[in-house]
Amino acid sequence: MTTTETAPLPLGTGEHQPAVTVRGLVKRYGGRAVLDGLDLEVRAGECFALLGPNGAGKTTTVEILEGVRRRDAGDVRVLGQDPAVAGRRWRDRIGVVSQGEAAGQELTVREALDHFAGYHAVPQPTDELLAAVDLEESARTRVVRLSGGQRRRLAVALGVQGRPELVFLDEPTTGMDPVARRQFWELIRGLRAGGTTVLLTTHYLDEAATLADRVGVVSGGRLVEVAPPDELGAALRGTATVTWTEHGRRRQVRTGAPSAVLRDLLAADPHGEVAGLTVTRPGLEDVYLQLVGAVPTDSEGELR
């Protein structure tokens, strides 16, 4: 019998127990189904990104998982409990980095953190939080005078103040400048490295690609694909596009076997140069756009 050394599991989660399990989630607004049988599983300790266009149901899903919105049907388990009926002890185990104003505008950063520490069973000391989100210099600044990036960092500090096992981030970097975004990503990587399960929603592909262990694409109220970012849409990625110029016309072929197409092309003119020859495989963005139905999924074959 062999024993394998495994990395310690994230705290507070039993082995094999996912942080989030969703089966057949349905939510209707006025008869229209925003979520239409969504299935989802987030493993303990991973960073999972829910990707999808606006209105796909990302925020509704997260709000149901957070226990602040009722569902119409389906089974939901978050940290082993049904969020619709879970109590304060459960709430203390999850953290939410919300879009809304974190605290009164006229509080200083330190006052806000000190106050909200009083809501948690085992709050992170304020000084450690300030250091973690790099707001030490602004501790005595009132929230109203913080920059946009600083406010988001304060929101993160407040979201993780109770040492949560699972953190929700709903479109956390919307409206951030590129520098602030990268700093923010570092924070989230830090969280995940510390063993916290992270569930974030975003409509930025680069964000999902750089942060997430796995990406789930939501479209039309369902999860249409789940995979690590570089394996997303494996079937779609198998299709390459071969393009070249023939008699002054662009020709394009989509194929699962680009080498065969190339062999044929080269054989047709063994000594010449095939003008404008390219072979491309779809990137994350192409796959994503096809998954959410923004562009039609073409069948193999010649185009135009």
Partner: protein
Amino acid sequence: MTAVLTPTTHRPAPPSAARIALSRVRLELRLFFRERQQVVFSFAYPVVMLLIFASIMGDEERPGQVPFAQYFLAGIVATGIMLTSFQAVGTSIAAQREAGQLERLQLLGTPPVAYFAGKAGQVLVTAAAQVALLLPVARYVYDVPMPVDVGHWLTFLWVAGLSALAGTVLGVAVSALPGNATATTTAVSALAIVLQFFSGVFFGFLELPGWMQQMASFFPLKWMTQGMRSVFLPDQAGAFEIAGGWEHGKTALVLAAWVIIGVVICVRTFRWRRSEG
């Protein structure tokens, strides 16, 4: 950095509602006094009005040879309590909800009772501070006599307490009105001003048109001012009230009824979020 933000397994129960309520009182007080609009229009308003009106109308008398300042003090004390409770609570909850602060409280699992207790505690402290500012100004600048005995002070305490309670629950109730925070603030402030005129704060209640008196009788402020007149005016002035007396029983009944109405509305309509989907 990464080592700092780690989850925990050893997790006792979260702090009690009472502890959160206490820290919310401190927070709400801090926010109240840092909010210029609240300080000017809720806290300082009665003192400013007393200074203006008592200076202009200083020589006039109200029925029963009551000097204007003495009559006006009763009304403006009641008005002050209405503003620091009803107006301040209604507008601040609407604003906090709109900013997403209540949403965060919900996500933190804040017991609603702790949130309301925080508001109530803040109202109690600001109203007491306001009265503590108002009475010396009336006493030493305008020679208004203070209540003569313990009985009158006790009347003051129950009228003020019941008024603040009714104002607070009705403030919570009115914050649920549809529309944005600006609309709520406008509606609340307009109602507060109209009620002041209708309820005999500025003019003798007996001098008002009958329809105005009847309308005012539905609302708490009329009973709050009447209760305060029974505290600050000489006993014989009660003969000049509509009923020919102070009507303490009816005052207590009407205010208590509004507390109950307010609580019922709060329970049915209070929401953490801007709109329910």
